[in-house]
């Protein structure tokens, strides 16, 4: 199978971060994202950066995978940095380039905002790098479980997610097959003006949708034949359990949050 078949960016491994309960990971990331916006001093940024880098270090994931995840946002980070340099006019003039005065406040602000961005992306991509999509689905189902009381279809949502995950490779294979079949009939997907290329996608999408609906129908029948009758009375094979490592990390993270608020300027 080619590498494009891999769903998401999960990198298999056996680090403590990999083994953590996905719920714990999601909770930490959720609060990390909030707390990042409260940081405004060297020490507060420092403690968050230290936590993030330490986590990355423990995973033992090769940096190139992490760099790959950051690739689409580098531009954004650099752009924000430059924008801040140009727009902010606080503090003293440090130097001027091409007639633009660069202020000291601008430099600090630029670095801070870029760092904030960087940390956000780093810690969220760590979730998808160390957790399988199906584990994330399980965690979401478990976290949203209380919403069942207000009739929110938590189980159905989770099942939908896991079925989508399962069918992504199947539909990708199918797309490839259809595009080859159409190409053999002279449809050109690669050259020509954009308008023409977009038009060429139609004969690809129509059969794909038709077959996806057919699949859905057959799958529904197969599920029914195997006794599926909604979430009531169902047991689960995969179980989530918080273990010592999860509690330890949660406690550690609480200290990080406290540190951030104590060291705020």
């Amino acid at each position: 199978m080619n590498s494009s078949m891999v769903i998401g960016q999960y990198v298999p491994g056996d680090s403590p971060v990999h083994r953590m309960d996905p719920r714990a990971k999601i909770t930490i990331i959720f609060f990390f994202v909030i707390v990042v916006f409260f940081a405004n001093s060297v020490a507060s940024y420092g403690s968050l950066a230290l936590f993030a880098l330490l986590s990355v270090g423990i995973t033992k994931i090769p940096p190139r995978f992490i760099a790959k995840g950051l690739k689409p946002v580098w531009f954004l980070i650099i752009f924000t940095f430059i924008l801040h340099l140009v727009v902010t006019k606080e503090g003293n003039v440090l130097f001027s380039v091409l007639g633009f005065d660069v202020y000291s406040g601008a430099l600090i602000q630029g670095v801070a905002i870029s760092l904030r961005f960087f940390l956000l992306i780093l810690i969220t991509s760590l979730l998808t790098l160390t957790t399988t999509p199906i584990a994330i689905t399980d965690a979401i189902e478990s976290i949203l479980h209380p919403l069942k009381k207000v009739k929110f279809p938590v189980h159905e949502l989770a099942l939908m997610m896991s079925i989508s995950l399962r069918f992504i490779p199947t539909l990708m294979q199918e797309t490839e097959k259809i595009s080859k079949a159409q190409a053999s009939r002279g449809v050109d997907f690669r050259t020509g003006p954009i308008k023409e290329r977009l038009k060429a996608i139609v004969p690809l999408l129509v059969p794909l949708f038709v077959s996806a609906f057919k699949r859905a129908e057959e799958l529904a029948m197969a599920m029914e034949a195997r006794g599926y009758q909604g979430g009531e009375g169902r047991t689960k094979l995969r179980e989530l359990a918080l273990r010592k490592v999860d509690y330890a990390v949660l406690v550690l993270f609480t200290f990080v949050i406290i540190a951030v608020f104590l060291t705020r300027a």
């Binding site: 490779p169 199947t170 057919k214 197969a222 034949a225």
Partner: protein, 279 residues
């Protein structure tokens, strides 16, 4: 007298009131531990028959009894637990993200406790020879392997009957052989009735009994050997007989005294080398 497990009493079915009748007053039965093959060309009603057996469809007229119970809205889930079904397309019945999860799906639906589930998954995967693939995703399996997982998923629920609805139709010859081998194996180890809906006449030879469907009616019922003796009639409704049987028919036509209708190469060979022996 063998115990009947499934029974159709004068079952008629049509998809809509204005659409043609798919099954017309069909009465059949399947005994416990019996292997029944249902054949017929497209539109003969054989797949519809399979779907009536576990309540995916319900008859317009007549009654369906499973294990002594009349199929109805109330007992439908109980009956689906007793009657497992494997479908044609290997991809469109694979619900879980891995082999293990897929086998678990049926068990989860029936509320089997987790410890029991783990045991049953291991056991049924072993029964179909897929125990090494527990953590594989479906796209890393061949069609035949996926169908074996589908069989394992059905077996895990411990049904009394397994229906294979053209389960080998989309497989290559190797995959077909795998599936038939698996079914044979399972039949030896467990008490299950098997109903195979098929186009493949070689599969028919393995069954205890054959039901031939034509235009919504039961056209023939009997052993495979009996079936292949009626060559012309079978061809008149658009079905053919296996090569071995054809060969035996030709030999008979040439005046050779072929006594029993051979079902496979070995039987034909035995028939041939004993042809002139007088003892």
């Amino acid at each position: 007298m063998e115990q009947s497990f499934l029974e159709f009493q004068n079952v008629s079915f049509q998809y809509r009131e204005d659409s043609p009748i798919v099954l017309d007053d069909v009465s059949i039965q399947v005994n416990q531990n019996e292997w029944v093959a249902v054949i017929g060309h497209n539109g003969s009603g054989k797949s519809t028959m399979a779907k009536l057996m576990n309540g995916l469809l319900s008859p317009n007229e007549g009654y369906v009894y499973v294990d002594g119970l009349l199929l109805s809205e109330e007992n439908i889930w109980e009956i689906r637990r007793k009657v497992g079904m494997v479908f044609q397309n290997p991809d469109n019945q694979f619900v879980g993200t891995t082999v293990k999860d897929d086998v678990a799906f049926g068990l989860e639906n029936h509320g089997i406790p987790r410890e029991e589930m783990v045991k049953r998954i291991a056991h049924s995967l072993k029964a179909v020879g897929m125990e090494e693939y527990e953590d594989h995703e479906p796209h890393r399996l061949s069609g035949g392997q996926k169908q074996r997982v589908a069989i394992a998923s059905v077996l895990a629920v411990a049904p009394s009957m397994v229906i294979l609805d053209e389960a080998t139709a989309m497989l290559d010859p190797k995959g077909r052989k795998e599936i038939m081998h698996t079914v044979n194996q399972v039949r030896q180890e467990r008490d299950v009735s098997v109903v195979t809906i098929t186009h493949d006449l070689n599969e028919v030879t393995l069954a205890d009994r054959v039901i031939v469907m034509n235009k919504g009616n039961v056209w023939f019922e009997g052993t495979p050997r009996e079936l292949f003796e009626q060559k012309e009639d079978l061809q008149s409704i658009g079905l053919d007989i296996p090569l071995v049987s054809k060969f035996a028919h030709e030999l008979k036509g040439l005046g050779l005294d072929v006594k029993t209708q051979p079902l496979n190469h070995e039987e034909l060979m035995d028939e041939l080398w004993t042809l002139h022996s007088t003892t």
